[in-house]
Symmetry: C2
Subunit: 204 residues, 2 copies
């Protein structure tokens, strides 16, 4: 069993993604990755010609996942139902570690600036956010700042819940569905007849 194996590339990507999420790209060494795979640094170089190439593989997976989500979304009728389903499907990806990759992209670590993939990935993310923001909100790619903030918060909700669910016993499904509801309210705020905030605010 301790001999050569053929799934090292996939295992390496899973392990690397996890370590990048914990320590950041620059804080993760090839030694750490190799140790978890029970191989040596040199063996890693058989599969990838550089550390940056490992990052590229990880980002490629993320990019593909988001692109598939976009393709699906574009074939659906536009509306709150489709947006909710987009968020639900994104939340599913959360379980397979998409959160870590998304954070790598969104926290724009300088490591990504030198990645040719970075532009493509960011493009997909922007398109996905546009899909979630709905029609009328965006004007040619430059969105209403508040609406774009709400979309990013919706995704952040799924990330946070996904992380927490992973550590919780039982899968934390109530938390995930609560997060999905919150995310939907953020991108499609329910009509409310409550008084304005400023009206409720009396200075100390």
């Amino acid at each position: 069993m301790a001999g050569r194996r053929t799934d090292t590339r996939e295992r390496a990507q899973r392990v690397a993604l996890q370590l990048f999420a914990e320590h950041g790209y620059e804080g993760t060494s090839l030694r750490m990755i190799a140790e978890r795979l029970d191989i040596t640094k040199a063996a890693l170089y058989y599969h990838y010609k550089s550390k940056a190439e490992i990052l590229a593989a990880v980002l490629g997976n993320f990019s593909t996942s988001v692109a598939e989500l976009i393709d699906w979304g574009r074939q659906q009728p536009e509306g709150p139902g489709t947006r909710r389903e987009l968020l639900r499907r994104y939340a599913e990806l959360t379980a397979s570690g998409i959160t870590a990759a998304a954070r790598l992209v969104q926290e724009n670590e300088p490591s990504l600036q030198e990645q040719s993939l970075a532009a493509e990935v960011r493009g997909h993310v922007v398109t996905f956010f546009d899909l979630l923001a709905g029609p009328g909100v965006l004007t040619g790619g430059v969105s209403d700042p508040a609406a774009s903030l709400r979309v990013r918060l919706a995704i952040a909700a799924l990330h946070m819940a996904g992380d927490e669910a992973k550590h919780a016993q039982g899968g934390g499904e109530e938390l995930l569905s609560a997060a999905l509801d919150i995310a939907c309210d953020l991108i499609d705020p329910p009509v409310n007849s409550a008084p304005e905030h400023t009206a409720r605010f009396t200075a100390p």
Copy 2:
């Protein structure tokens, strides 16, 4: 003017916080910090006996800021108005770089695990979140997961807006006030008479 100065410690903390935010703690070297201060690495060691001590100083500032916010909040009458003002004051701190420190804490980088300050800081953050979550929501420190998610999202909204406002020309005050409104809605959701989400969701 190129001689000795007395404010190197403060400057180092500001610079270090900024670099930690950009590259993470492990991705930031003392050479980077020293270069921005126009001194050498060795000079840095006159002010701090280790890299970890620089991190400790930065976290100490953060811890103090949050503690002051908690003290103020506890002297106020409990209610949505106080919670809004707590968020507003937190958003102000955002301009002075608290976001970066908060992220260092919240992303629990392993660097923090070996910091004796970490427990204290995390304690303050939990207390602050409890204050924001309001009464009845928490049951002895262990909160309703959905409510705690909403609080974390509210803070995340202020972080995102603060970051964006820093890069925007004009200070982006509309964005900041929009973020404050969103944050308030998250911790004190307006009563709504809209239909349930599941009722709006029709599968594809």
